[in-house]
């Protein structure tokens, strides 16, 4: 029973991380480094909450969260792709802007009880002992995250457009010479990243803790960014890493309640420490670095220069 309960909370905690990370993974595979995940996520959270309140429907809320994230990321796309501003600085300011703007937009929603996305029973499957209730009695966003990982994996590694996108990320000059529209593809990738971050934010304000409080993303956007590197730009590894991060953060709370004497600060730090270890390993091994890291990541593309 207790393991079932722990697994359920691990899934809820990991879902926003993996969804935001999936979006960032696609963005980075296209060669764009968007550090504004936290900002897009919080905008998605407030957008979703507001729309759910206005319409009374959590599903419209989810859609609004996705839309808010995508539209907000368009701003990043315009600055970095059209005006060719520095991606790192623009991404950081996008986060600050998102935190400020969401606080302002959400001012009247503080303290209002939220609308929760209902859980979906999958008939028959949810009756399987143990795994049934954990895997097949979940909210819609969890199922979406599984669909996303399958879809993204197929798109990136099995489809023609995915190949083009990866080509742009690896060498935008050559891709351009081959006649691939670099800027357009990057715009789409950035917007997809924003939509995912928005959905992750919507999960926070409609599933995880159905309420709006300022800054409620509380650093999850940064964990998602770390997760992409941790997973060395591979969708399934993002999923595994996300569940690992979730398991550590939930596990340490349970360990405390059980009275296991590991310092909680140490356990809270583990996901980040693991990311650093992975970074050291992958940058040490030149072959994996070359294979996985998009070579044009963070570099601006100006077609006619």
């Amino acid at each position: 029973m207790i393991f079932e309960a722990i697994l359920l909370t691990v899934i809820t905690a990991a879902t926003p991380l993996v969804i935001a990370a999936f979006g960032e993974l696609v963005t980075e595979r296209a060669g764009v480094l968007n550090l504004g995940v936290e900002g897009m996520m919080i905008m998605g959270a407030v957008g979703a909450f507001a729309a759910a309140q206005a319409t009374g429907s959590p599903y419209i809320g989810l859609l609004a969260g996705i839309a808010t994230g995508a539209v907000f990321s368009l701003f990043f796309g315009f600055l970095t792709l059209t005006l060719v501003t520095n991606q790192v600085a623009t991404g950081l300011s996008l986060t600050i802007l998102g935190l400020g703007a969401s606080g302002m937009l959400g001012e009247s929603y503080v303290g209002i009880p939220g609308i929760k996305v209902p859980q979906v029973y999958i008939p028959y499957l949810s009756e399987i002992p143990f795994i049934g209730p954990v895997l097949f009695h979940q909210d819609l966003v969890f199922y979406l995250s599984i669909v996303l990982v399958i879809g993204i994996n197929w798109f990136l590694f099995k489809s023609r457009s995915g190949l083009k996108l990866r080509a742009i990320g690896d060498n935008h000059g050559s891709a351009h010479a081959l006649g691939i529209d670099v800027i357009r593809t990057r715009y789409l990738a950035v917007m997809f990243g924003g939509a995912c971050a928005g959905l992750a934010g919507a999960q926070l304000s409609l599933v995880y803790t159905p309420q709006w409080v300022e800054n409620m993303a509380a650093g999850r956007g940064w964990i998602a960014l770390a997760l992409v590197v941790f997973a060395s730009w591979r969708p399934w590894r993002v999923l595994a890493g996300g569940y690992l991060f979730g398991a550590v953060s939930i596990g340490q709370l349970h360990a405390q309640a059980f009275g296991i004497g590991i310092p909680s600060q140490f356990l809270s730090m583990l996901p980040y420490a693991a990311t650093i270890v992975v970074l050291i390993i992958i940058s040490h091994n030149r072959r994996t670095t070359l294979i996985n890291t998009p070579a044009s990541l963070g570099k601006a593309f100006v077609p006619d220069r």
């Binding site: 207790i2 309960a5 722990i6 909370t9 809820t12 905690a13 926003p16 600055l79 005006l83 501003t85 520095n86 600085a89 623009t90 300011s93 600050i96 802007l97 935190l99 400020g100 703007a101 606080g103 302002m104 001012e107 503080v110 303290g111 209002i112 009880p113 926070l204 995880y208 803790t209 159905p210 309420q211 409080v213 300022e214 800054n215 409620m216 509380a218 650093g219 999850r220 953060s249 939930i250 709370l253 349970h254 405390q256 309640a257 059980f258 009275g259 004497g261 310092p263 909680s264 600060q265 809270s268």
Partner: protein, 357 residues
């Protein structure tokens, strides 16, 4: 890069929004520096409510500009100094982390009066004020012991600082005064503010069998989880009844208004002096949200305890009290002094947790 600079400037303007700063010669300026936003539903909102009471009380005589979302650190000093330069006569800096910045600015502006919340550094023109939250925690502990069927409560704690440890101990002592075997499980969230993590901590505690929940973190997420799972809980800093109409038993409510009015009046009448205030239920700086969702006899007990604390008949930290490992701390009838409480770094007997060092 110019565009980026513009974007950053616009962002800064959004993050730090400024209240009315219009100059008016005949009005006294009483100013406030907030660490969070006015609508955070917890800590800063409680201070904002106090500011509004000052406005209401003095009407046209005072003006009360504020700065919100001021980060603790170098920016705090700039923000406080800006307030001092803009003609504030009295400045309330309402977060522990503003302590050093307040003292520094106060040295530059000897004519301006400063008041710092929850700090311990004072000066001739710097007063400090704080609330005895532990008095409310003791009452909560008593209620918990009456209402819990298992004699086991969960406590979501933020950081192992004296104020939090003091709260945990007061809760356990209150519970023990009703049920000597009462146990308290503690989970450290290592954050003041993360709804998701607070909710997870609440779920972990409930999954491990606690049937009453209390928190020393800032959001209403634990209350929400308690409501979902059908157990009882206590609110923190603000009345959280909206998050759990059938869940909240009571809440510790910070009510700074009376204090702010008192100090503003002292300023206007020219009797303001630097003091180090640590007030509690008696002075109305701390109030209890209505006792709800409990039988009448429990409510009566809580009200009686509240009255006894107000009259000074009862001090939550009165011996005999043993430390967690069983070594004696306070002798029979002995009361803990404020210095010990403000530096508290140990648990009392009955707390089922190892204090992080």
């Amino acid at each position: 890069m110019k565009k980026l600079a513009l974007a950053l400037a616009a962002t800064a303007a959004l993050v730090i929004s400024v209240g009315s700063t219009a100059q008016a010669a005949d009005k006294t300026k009483v100013c406030f520096i907030y660490v969070g936003t006015r609508t955070d539903g917890g800590w800063t909102q409680a201070h904002e409510n106090g500011r509004l009471e000052v406005e209401k009380e003095f009407g046209d005589k005072v003006e009360t500009p504020y700065l919100e979302s001021v980060p603790e650190g170098p920016d705090a000093e700039r923000a406080i100094e800006r307030m001092a330069r803009s003609g504030c006569s009295l400045i309330f800096t309402t977060s522990f982390g503003f302590m050093d910045a307040t003292i520094k600015v106060a040295q530059k502006f000897p004519k301006v009066k400063f008041e710092h919340a929850t700090g311990f550094k004072a000066a001739e023109n710097v007063a400090t004020y704080n609330s005895r939250f532990y008095e409310g925690r003791y009452i909560q502990g008593q209620i918990a012991a009456k209402m819990s069927k298992k004699g086991l409560a969960g406590y979501i704690a933020s950081f192992p600082i004296p104020e939090v440890v003091m709260g945990i101990n007061a809760f356990e002592l209150g519970a023990k005064s009703v049920n000597p075997d009462f146990k308290l499980k503690v989970v450290w969230a290592n954050t003041w503010f993360d709804p998701g993590k607070e909710a997870d901590a609440a779920k972990a505690l409930i999954d491990q069998g606690v049937d009453i929940l209390t928190q020393h973190t800032d959001t209403t997420a634990p209350m929400q989880v308690a409501a979902e799972r059908g157990i009882m809980a206590f609110g923190q800093a603000s009345d959280m009844i909206k998050a759990g109409p059938k869940t909240q038993l009571t809440a510790i409510v910070d009510t700074w208004g009376a204090y702010y009015i008192k100090r503003t009046r002292a300023l206007l009448e020219g009797t303001w002096k630097s003091e180090q205030i640590w007030d509690g239920l008696k002075d109305g700086i701390l109030t209890m949200a209505p006792y709800t969702n409990m039988p009448d006899d429990v409510k009566k007990m809580a009200e009686e305890t509240e009255a006894k604390i107000k009259s000074g008949e009862l001090h939550p930290f009165t011996g005999p009290i043993n430390k967690q490992d069983g070594t004696p701390w306070l002798k029979d009838g002995e009361k803990a002094d404020d210095g010990t409480l403000l530096g508290m770094n140990f648990y009392v007997q009955g707390v089922d947790d190892k204090l992080p060092q």
